[in-house]
């Protein structure tokens, strides 16, 4: 049973959580044209990847163009989604630090869990919408057939995997606190490393043994596999349980670990005076 003071604290945390989502919505609105430009870039980038399948066929190669195109499309779209999650969670910390607002955020009576999960929740809402739009726009420009694709099941896998991505995003979000100049770039390196071992454009079986071991602990491996099973083979949510349970386990570890890492980084920043814009 929740006591009144606990209820009050919970209410405050929920309002704070909503405040983070609200703030990021304002920022997206204020930078709407930049968002559009970035979206067009992502469309162009995704197209350059998915046309590789047709290019190989045109060069005399033999492959299932439809299937390979969808494999590449899913890889590129997941890369974009993961990039957006990392960008929102990591870059917002860097951005706040640059604007100087981070000191006001960090001195506000809101728990770090509400703060970071609020950013994660916004990242997922915005990311899923943007990713769905990207998928639709790119798919519409290609003559590919999706057959009996189960897009809803793919969406479920994406949402479940988002928990893990947010947890990893929290870990990388601490980097701008520790290294204001290069921390954000290190976050993108983490994103790249995550995808290279996860079979973003190829099956993980082609990787060297040590990379295959890393692919087992990468949530992106199961996200890519699950989405491909759902879209290429029409697998339902229950059929994808072998991909879903590792995501649940990794998510269950990644979020508390991400919070702990961020708190540790925050403590370091407070001990060494690193929250300041110029310092």
């Amino acid at each position: 049973m929740i006591r009144p003071e606990q209820g009050g604290a919970l209410r405050r945390e929920l309002i704070g959580f909503a405040g983070i989502v609200e703030r990021n919505m304002y920022l997206i609105r204020r930078f709407a044209w930049w968002e559009l430009a970035w979206f067009l870039y992502t469309v162009a980038n995704t197209l350059t990847i998915v046309f590789i399948a047709k290019g190989i066929e045109a060069g005399g190669g033999h492959l299932d163009v439809n299937r390979t195109t969808i494999v590449l499309l899913i890889g590129a779209v997941i890369w974009s989604y993961l990039g957006l999650i990392f960008e929102i969670v990591t870059e917002t910390v860097a951005w706040e630090r640059w604007e100087g607002t981070i000191e006001y955020t960090f001195m506000a009576p809101i728990s770090r869990a509400s703060h970071l999960l609020g950013m994660g929740a916004f990242a997922v809402i915005y990311g899923v919408l943007r990713t769905a739009l990207l998928f639709a726009v790119v798919a519409a420009s290609l003559s590919v057939s999706f057959g009996n694709a189960d897009f809803a099941a793919a969406g479920v896998v994406l949402l479940i995997s988002s928990v893990s991505f947010i947890g990893i995003g929290m870990m990388t979000a601490v980097l701008p606190l520790i290294s204001p100049e290069k921390g954000t770039q290190l976050g993108f390196i983490a994103q790249g490393l995550l995808l290279v071992v996860s079979g973003v454009y190829y099956p993980v079986t082609v990787l060297p043994d040590w990379m295959q071991w890393l692919s087992v602990i990468s949530p992106a491996t199961y996200t890519l596999e699950g989405c491909r099973n759902a879209i290429l083979d029409g697998a339902s949510v229950s059929q994808m349980w072998p991909d879903i349970w590792p995501l649940l386990v990794i998510g269950g570890i990644a979020v508390p670990l991400g919070l702990a890492v961020f708190r540790r980084g925050e403590r370091y920043a407070k001990q060494h005076g690193r929250l300041k814009r110029s310092g």
Binding site: G19, Y26, L275, R277
Partner: protein, 273 residues
């Protein structure tokens, strides 16, 4: 609550690690003391000014009290609550206005105030009525409430910073050079507002400033902070008498051996401003 001091600081110490440049070894690390055993007490409703050069430790003190830094020794309590043991409880009581009006510059005053109020548990219904009231109180024209912050003057931005602090009804307000860089008119408006805060809201105010006239006009007691040490803490008149000076500026010079025009302590000591 009034029986408990608003602020009680005892032997508070803070050090930073700085790297000396210029050598082939790419910098030797050294510890720089920003605050060296600071002790003072503030009563509820009191306005206390801390005078000091850049790097004297003023901002470090404000950051420690606002839970943005962790101490290296000593203690600080706000209304009896330990700042370093229970930061969340202290955060509910404190707000701060700094020399830089830090906002998301592309967002409007309304947007900036709205989201920051959420962090203090204020829902949309509450802020819808409260934000226009506060903006009126600080003399901000309502028709400019939806313009991006970057289109507003420094004075206007600082009014929004005051509004942000007031919106959360802090019982302890930390003002870190709130009028530095403002034109004379904006400066007077901000000072008027600080007086109103004291009169109408019974706020306890810690004002860190360069401006001696401002300190004398607003504060009950004035402290001189020099190289992280509090040299004195008393009324302006008592400081003048103690240092055998006719003006507060002369007293500051006599106390520290330096004037504000001298090289900043910051650049000599490596303490953040």
């Amino acid at each position: 609550m009034s029986a408990v001091p608003a602020v009680q600081v005892h032997n508070l110490r803070k050090e930073f690690i700085r790297r000396d440049g210029g050598s082939r070894k790419r910098g030797r690390r050294r510890r720089v003391a920003a605050l060296q055993g600071l002790s003072f007490t503030m009563q509820q409703g009191e306005c206390l000014a801390i005078l000091g050069q850049n790097g004297s430790g003023k901002s470090t003190l404000v950051r420690l009290l606002s839970t943005l830094l962790i101490n290296d020794g000593g203690s600080a309590h706000v209304f009896g609550i330990d700042v370093f043991d229970k930061p969340r409880s202290v955060q509910r009581l404190v707000n701060r206005v700094s020399v830089e009006a830090s906002f998301f510059k592309r967002m409007s005053p309304m947007e900036n105030l709205s989201y920051s109020a959420r962090f203090y548990g204020m829902g949309p219904r509450e802020t819808r009525s409260r934000i226009p009231e506060i903006l009126a109180l600080v003399g901000f024209p309502p028709e400019r409430g939806h313009e991006p912050m970057e289109d507003l003057s420094r004075g206007m931005q600082q009014k929004i910073a005051l509004a942000r602090a007031l919106l959360t009804a802090p019982v302890l307000l930390l003002l870190d050079e709130p009028t530095t860089g403002l034109d004379p008119r904006s400066k007077l408006e901000v000072q008027d507002f600080i007086r109103q805060m004291r009169e109408h809201h019974d706020s306890t105010i810690l004002l860190c400033t360069h401006d001696m006239a401002e300190a004398e006009a607003l504060a009950d007691r004035i402290g001189i902070l020099h190289q992280g040490e509090l040299l004195c803490l008393e009324s302006a008149e008592e400081i003048r008498q103690r240092y055998h000076a006719e003006t507060l500026e002369q007293a500051f010079l006599n106390a520290t051996g330096r004037s504000f025009e001298d090289e900043d302590e910051e650049s000599r000591r490596g303490v953040p401003a």
